[in-house]
C-alpha cells in the first residue's frame, strides 16, 4: 500500500512536467520569437500605397517638356464581385464580353481578396461612363494614377521611360520599391529617379478575417501623405531641340549643342528618334519591342553611345597642342602637294594648296598641314623617343575629354577609345613611330569619340581653354540644387593666347570664300567652325561639322554628325547653322527658311539589305546603284535639289522599312 501511495508523486510530477512543457512553448512563441507578432500585424493591417506624381521637367526657358497626365485603372476584388451585367460593363469599357471574362479570370488568378487591376488605363470617356453605373458593379473600383506626357513629342532618348519595377529593381532598392511601383528605366528618368519619384504615401487600414475594412489603424497615426516628385529644370531649349529633330528626320546621326560657359546641353538629338509618348501607357510594351526591333536602332542614344572617328574636327586640337608645345607657330607654313608621305604611306589631301599656314590649314582642312604638325609633335625629342612623346601627346588630348566618360547625367554613357602607347606596343612591338599612327593626326584610325565628346571639345575651344562637364539638368527641385561636378571648370592645359589663331582659322572656314563651310554662313552671326568628312569603312563617309557662335562670348558650341551623308559641308554644317541661328536669334531668317524645309525632307537613311531574303543583285542593278550613288554625291556637293535621284529598282524590291515611329499615338 505504501508503495502505491508513492504513485501519487509520479502523477503529480507528470502534471508539473506537462505544465512546464506548455509554458516553455508559450515562452518561445510569445517572448523569444516575434514571428507571431509580425504575422498578426500583417493579418489585420493592410497598407495601401498612395502614388505621388513624378516631378515635371522644364526646359531652360521654364517651358514644360515632361509632365503628368491622369489615367484611371479599373480595379477589382474578385471575392466581392456579385453576378453583374457583363454587357453593360463591356460597353462602358469599349471591350468585348469575352475580354471581361478573361480579365476576371486573370484577376482571380492574382488574388481573390486584394484589389487587382481589371482593366488598366481606361479612357476618360470610359471613366466618365463608369462613374454613373459604378454602383451596379460591387467589388469594382477605380484608381487614379499619373503617367508621363511629353507635349512636344521630342527627346525620347533623353528622357527615357518609366516602367513597372521588376524583381531585380525591388531587390536592389533596399525595400523602397514594391511590386507594382514604377521606376525610371533609362535616360533622365533613370539618372534622376530619386528626385523625380517623390515619396510614396501609406494609408494603414485594419481588416477583419473576412477582409472587410474596419477603419484606420491607430487613428491614422502611421499614415503618410504622398509627396510629389521634385521638378527638374533642364538646360535644353525645346525649340532648338525640336528644330534639330526635324532637321535630322530620316537621317542617322547625332547633334549635341552645349552652352560653353555653363556646360548646359541646349539640344541633344539622336536620330532616328522616337516619340516618347509611345513609351507610356497601355501599348508601352508593344512599342518598346518595335523600337528594339527597328533596324535603324532608334533606342540607341547616339550622342553618348555612338562611336565616330572625330575626323577633321580633331585638327584644331592638334593645332592647339602644337602651339602649346612650341613646335609650331601660327605663321609657320608647310607645303601641301595634295598629299603627305608618311614613310611609304600616302595621306591624301582633298586639294593642292602649296605653302599653307595654320589659319588656312584649318579653314581648308588641310590633311598635309596637320600631318606635319603631328610629325613635329611626336618627333620633337628625336626619332628615338617617339613612344614617350606619343604618350605625352595622347595624355594632352585626353584632357580634352577623349577616351574617357564625361559623366553626363544620362545612364549608359560610353567613353570611346583612344589608344595608349602600350596598346601600340602590343600591336607593333617596339617598332612603331609617327608614321605608323599618322592617321591620328587627322582624327581617323585608332580614335573614336562620342558626339558629346566632340561637342565638348568645341566648347573647350569656345571657352578658350576649359570646360564644364556637360549636363542636361541645370537645377533640381525648388531649391534649384546643382550638382557640384557641373559647376567646376576643367582646364585642358593649353594657354588662352594659343586659341585665337586656331579660332581665326575656324572663323575663316565658315566665313571666308575659301572656307569649307562657307555655304553655312549665318547672316549677322560670326560662327566659327570646322567641317569633317569622316571615312567610314562600312559605307559612305559621315558628314561632320563642329562649331561655336558667336566668336566672342560664345553662346553655343555644336557638333553635328550625319551618317553616310558625304562631305561635312553638305549636311552637317547647314544643320548646325540653322540650329545656331534658331538658338541665337530665335528663328531662322530669310531664304534659309526654305533651306530648312528642304533639309527636313532629305532622306539619307542607308539602304538596308534584308539578308534573310538573299536577294541577288543583277549586274545591271548594281551598276544603277553605283551610278546613282556617285551621281548623288556630286549633286549633293553642288547642293542641287535634284540630287534625290530615283531609287534603283532593286532597292524598292528590298522594301526598306520606313520609319513611322514619329506618328501621333492618338491616331493609332
Amino acid at each position: 500500500m505504501e508503495q502505491l501511495f508513492n504513485r501519487k508523486y509520479i502523477i503529480q510530477g507528470l502534471f508539473i512536467v506537462i505544465a512546464i512543457i506548455l509554458l516553455a512553448k508559450l515562452f518561445y512563441i510569445q517572448i523569444i520569437s516575434d514571428k507571431a507578432f509580425v504575422a498578426a500585424e500583417s493579418n489585420v493591417l493592410k497598407k495601401k500605397f498612395k502614388y505621388p506624381a513624378r516631378g515635371a521637367i522644364l526646359d531652360r526657358k521654364m517651358r514644360v517638356i515632361v509632365q503628368n497626365e491622369p489615367v484611371y485603372d479599373l480595379m477589382v476584388i474578385p471575392n466581392e464581385v456579385k453576378s453583374f451585367d457583363t454587357l453593360a460593363l463591356a460597353n462602358a469599357l469599349d471591350i468585348s464580353v469575352d475580354d471581361i471574362r478573361k480579365n476576371m479570370r486573370k484577376a482571380r488568378l492574382k488574388s481573390n481578396y486584394q484589389s487587382t487591376p481589371f482593366s488598366k488605363q481606361i479612357s476618360v470617356q470610359s471613366y466618365a461612363r463608369l462613374q454613373e453605373i459604378m454602383y451596379r458593379f460591387p467589388g469594382f473600383s477605380t484608381q487614379d494614377r499619373t503617367i508621363r506626357h511629353y507635349p512636344d513629342s521630342v527627346g525620347g532618348q533623353l528622357f527615357g521611360y518609366v516602367k513597372e519595377v521588376n524583381q531585380d529593381d525591388i531587390d536592389k532598392s533596399d525595400g523602397y520599391y514594391r511590386s507594382g511601383d514604377y521606376i525610371g528605366k533609362s535616360g533622365l528618368e533613370r539618372s534622376y529617379e530619386e528626385f523625380l519619384r517623390g515619396e510614396k504615401g501609406v494609408v494603414n487600414t485594419v481588416y477583419d478575417a473576412k477582409n472587410i475594412p474596419q477603419g484606420s489603424y491607430a487613428d491614422g497615426k502611421y499614415d503618410i501623405n504622398a509627396i510629389s516628385g521634385e521638378r527638374l529644370i533642364s538646360g535644353i531649349d525645346i525649340q532648338v531641340q525640336k528644330l534639330g529633330e526635324e532637321l535630322m528626320t530620316n537621317k542617322v546621326g547625332a547633334v549635341v549643342a552645349i552652352e560653353p560657359s555653363s556646360g548646359e546641353i541646349l539640344a541633344m538629338i539622336s536620330s532616328p528618334g522616337y516619340d516618347p509618348n509611345l513609351l507610356v501607357g497601355k501599348s508601352q510594351g508593344n512599342n518598346y519591342m518595335d523600337l528594339i526591333g527597328n533596324p535603324y536602332r532608334p533606342s540607341m542614344v547616339r550622342p553618348i553611345q555612338g562611336y565616330y572617328p572625330p575626323g577633321s574636327s580633331f585638327k584644331p586640337i592638334d593645332a592647339l597642342i602644337g602651339l602649346q608645345e612650341g613646335v609650331i607657330d601660327p605663321n609657320m607654313t608647310f607645303n601641301c602637294p595634295g598629299y603627305y608621305m608618311a614613310g611609304n604611306h600616302k595621306v591624301k589631301c582633298e586639294h593642292v594648296d602649296g605653302n599653307i599656314s595654320m589659319r588656312r590649314g584649318i579653314a581648308r582642312s588641310c590633311n598635309t598641314y596637320f600631318c606635319h604638325v603631328f610629325q613635329k609633335l611626336i618627333t620633337k625629342n628625336g626619332m628615338k623617343n617617339q613612344r614617350q612623346t606619343y604618350q605625352d601627346w595622347r595624355d594632352k588630348v585626353a584632357k580634352f575629354g577623349f577616351g574617357s566618360k564625361l559623366d553626363i547625367d544620362l545612364p549608359f554613357e560610353k567613353k570611346g577609345y583612344f589608344y595608349n602607347a602600350d596598346h601600340y606596343d602590343k600591336i607593333y612591338g617596339k617598332r612603331w613611330g609617327y608614321t605608323t599612327v599618322i592617321s591620328q593626326a587627322i582624327g581617323q584610325g585608332e580614335i573614336t569619340a562620342t558626339p558629346l565628346q566632340i561637342a565638348n571639345a568645341m566648347a573647350i575651344i569656345a571657352n578658350r581653354g576649359y570646360y564644364i562637364r556637360p549636363h542636361l539638368i541645370k537645377a533640381m527641385g525648388d531649391k534649384l540644387l546643382v550638382k557640384k561636378e557641373y559647376v567646376t571648370k576643367n582646364y585642358v592645359g593649353v594657354d588662352e593666347k594659343y586659341f585665337e589663331p586656331v579660332i581665326d582659322g575656324m572663323q575663316e572656314a565658315v566665313n571666308s570664300a575659301w572656307g569649307t563651310a562657307v555655304l553655312s554662313r549665318i547672316p549677322d552671326i560670326i560662327m566659327c567652325g570646322k567641317t569633317g568628312t569622316v571615312q567610314n569603312s562600312r559605307g559612305k563617309n559621315h558628314s561632320v561639322f563642329i562649331g561655336f557662335a558667336p566668336r566672342d562670348n560664345p553662346k553655343i558650341a555644336i557638333a553635328v554628325i550625319v551618317e553616310n551623308a558625304g562631305f561635312g559641308s553638305t549636311y552637317a554644317a547647314p544643320i548646325a547653322s540653322y540650329m545656331v541661328e534658331k538658338y541665337l536669334n530665335g528663328a531662322v531668317s530669310g531664304n534659309r527658311v526654305a533651306q530648312v524645309e528642304w533639309m527636313k525632307n532629305q532622306n539619307l537613311l542607308p539602304l538596308l539589305i534584308d539578308k534573310s531574303k538573299k536577294l541577288k543583285l543583277t549586274k545591271a542593278d548594281s551598276l544603277i546603284i553605283r551610278k546613282t550613288d556617285s551621281l548623288k554625291r556630286i549633286n549633293d556637293s553642288l547642293r542641287l535639289k535634284a540630287a534625290t535621284a530615283k531609287r534603283p529598282i532593286s532597292a524598292q524590291l528590298v522594301k526598306k522599312p520606313t520609319i513611322t515611329i514619329k506618328s501621333d499615338p492618338n491616331k493609332k
Partner: protein
Amino acid sequence: MIQQQGNRFFFNVDWITVLIYILLCIIGFANIYASIPHPDNSAAFDFSSSYGKQFIYVISGLVLGLSLLLFDGRLFNVFAPFIYGITLILLIAVLFIGRNVGGNQAWIPIGSFRLQPSEFAKFGTALLIARYVSTFSPKFRDFKSIFIVGIIVAAPLVLIMMQPDTGSALVFLAFMFPLYREGLSGYFLLIFLGMIVLFVADFLVPVSILIAIILTISGLFIYANKRKQKLIITTVFVTLIAIGYLFVVKIAYEKVLQQHQRNRIELMLGLKTDNKGAGYNVIQSQIAIGSGQATGRGFLQGTQTKYGYVPAQSTDFIFSTIGEEWGFLGCSVVIGLYIFLLLRLINLAERQRSTFSRVYGYSVACILFFHIFINIGMTIGIIPVIGIPLPFISYGGSSLWSFTILLFIFLKLDSNRMGFI
C-alpha cells in the same frame, strides 16, 4: 457525529477549490466577452449573445454545483451503476435522435438547450470505476479485473467514437492514471507512452532506421541481461511486437483515421503546411497567442481576437484570446491555477479514507488534466487539433455543467471524508 454532518450541508467543503473554480469561470466569461465583436453602439449586456448565455451557464452551474453539496455523498456510491447506465443509454440514443453539429452526432436537443451526453459519460464512468474498485479491491494483477475495468471504460469510449467524436473519446484514456494509482502495472503507462513515441517516430523517421534503432536497443538490453533467460524471451517478444506495431499503425493510420484527422496529425508533426485549409486554425491560434508577447495587448485590445481571425475562438480556441490579450503573464496565471487545482485534487483524493472517494478524486483530476493538456497543447501547436473544451473557461453549457458536476461530486465526497461511504 455523522448525523451532525448530514445536517450541515456545507460542512468541511474545500472552499479553496471552489474559489479556484469560480476564478476560472470568471476568466472564461471575460474572455468569451472579449472573443466576440463589440460594435460601438451595442447594448450594455446582451443575454442572447454568447457571453450573455455563458453568464447564465456560470450562474446556473454554480447553483447546480452548490446544490450537489446538499445530497448525501453516499447516494453517488449507491447510484453509480444506475448513473453509468443512464449515460450509456443517452450515448446510444444520441446516435439515433441526436442532432448533427459539425459532423458529430453528439447533441440531444431539449427545447432550446442541447445536451451533450459524452460530457456526462465522464463522471458516470468515473463513478462506476470508483464503485468497482472500492467494492472488489482488485489489484489489477489478474486478467479479469483489467478486463472488467477495460469494459467499463471502453463502452462509452466506443459509443462516443461512433458519433464520431474522437476528441471526447480520447479523454477516457485518462482513467489509466487512477487505475495506475490503484495498482495497475506501470508497464501499461510505459507501453502507452511507447506507442505514442513510436507512432510519432513512424512519421518522422524512415521505418528501416526505426527498426535498426529498436533492434540495437533490444540487442544491448539482451547483452546486459544475458544470464536471465526469461527476460530475454520477454525482450524478444516486445521487440517483435514493437516492429509489428510500426507497420500496423501505418496501415491503420491510412485506413481507420479520416482525412481531416490525418491532416491535423501531419500538420502538427510539421509534415505539411497549409495556411488556408486545415492548418488555418492552428496557425491563426498560434499567431494570436504569440502576438500577445509578455504582457498581452490588453482586455478587448487583441486584434486577432477582435477581428475574428481565430475560428471557434470562444469554444475550443478560447486559450488564444487569453494568450493574445493577457500575454505570457496571463497564460502563466491560467496554467498556474489549473496546476494548483490538479495538485490540490490529488492531495484531496489521497486524504480520503474511502477508496471510492479516492478513485473518483483521481479520475476527476486526470480527466481535467487531459482536457487542459490537449486543449492548450492544441492551441499552441504541440498536439494535433482535437476538439475538446478547456474546463470552466470554454464557452458552452454542457461542458461547463458536466465539469461542475464532476468537480462538485468530489467536493461533496471530500466533505464526507471522515465517514465511510
